[in-house]
């Protein structure tokens, strides 16, 4: 395989931008979470790419990837639970409507 590292980095950058775009512009909280997940994945992809191209003798990158994935899982669980709770309250998952801290 003769793909240089920058292909992966650019793919990852591109995915990150897509996720960012989704998180910034969609109103639906679930899609915002999806965007964040995409960004997470782009980051982890970067990590693994660097591991594969440069630091393959070390196990650190994989450890980081595992921890990042676990954290992302926890984050999405909490995020979605929050979305459900917010929905119960506002009857909406539109992030623009969640502008008040008052219960």
């Amino acid at each position: 395989m003769n793909i240089p590292l920058d292909h992966y980095l650019m793919l990852s950058a591109f995915l990150f931008a897509i996720g960012l775009c989704g998180a910034l512009s969609r109103k639906n909280a679930i899609i915002v979470l999806i965007g964040i997940e995409i960004m997470f994945n782009a980051g982890i992809l970067n990590l693994i790419a660097f591991w594969h191209y440069k630091y393959f003798t070390s196990v650190t990158a994989q450890m980081f990837a595992i921890f990042a994935i676990s954290i992302a899982a926890a984050e999405s669980a909490i995020g979605l639970a929050l979305v459900i709770a917010v929905y119960r309250h506002y009857k909406s998952v539109d992030v623009d409507e969640m502008a008040s801290l008052k219960g």
């Binding site: 920058d6 793919l11 992809l45 921890f67 909490i78 119960r88």
Partner: protein
């Protein structure tokens, strides 16, 4: 192998784009799954088998399913969005920022010599190594992660159950 890379990349990018642009939320999550699969494929391609399997197990098996459930609990089960919002309203703000960031990253990556690295016949890390590292050098983060996941589990249950508890 380049072919596989390009195919996977196209799948991944398309999955990501659809995941944030489609109107139907369920479709969004389904294309997100496609995206996750593409990423997992990339991991397998880079001989990070374990991470790939973990990616499928956690993201597709847990996160995506969770999202489907959340959609079911918060929307009409059809998952349709209300008014059309794609490519309208605030859309351009996000798009602009994203394009700027993507462009800058692109430029930076192009500039960096490191990015021209070619793979050096990387040996894959065996699962045994990962396992040993997890319980030896990385045991504190590992334990912290366990605590975090437990806390997240309990927290998610509590947040989601709040209404039920209050009713009692």
């Amino acid at each position: 192998m380049e072919t596989i890379f390009w195919i996977l990349s196209v799948i991944t990018v398309l999955g990501a784009i659809f995941a944030i642009t489609l109107r139907n939320l369920i479709h969004c999550v389904l294309s997100l799954i496609l995206f996750f699969l593409g990423i997992a494929g990339h991991y397998f391609l880079m001989h990070a088998d374990f991470i790939g399997a973990v990616q499928i197990l956690i993201y597709i098996g847990a996160v995506a399913v969770l999202m489907l459930f959340a959609i079911m609990l918060t929307r009409h089960v059809t998952g349709d969005e209300g008014p059309r919002e794609v490519l309208g309203g605030k859309w351009w703000a996000g798009m602009g920022t994203a394009v700027i960031i993507a462009g800058l990253l692109w430029a930076i990556i192009r500039k960096d010599a490191l990015a021209q690295l070619l793979p050096v016949g990387a040996a894959e890390t065996s699962v045994v190594e990962i396992g040993k590292a997890l319980v030896a050098d990385w045991v504190v983060p590992f334990e912290a992660m366990a605590v975090l996941l437990t806390a997240a589990l309990i927290g998610a249950v509590v947040i989601a159950l709040e209404e039920v508890i209050r009713k009692r």
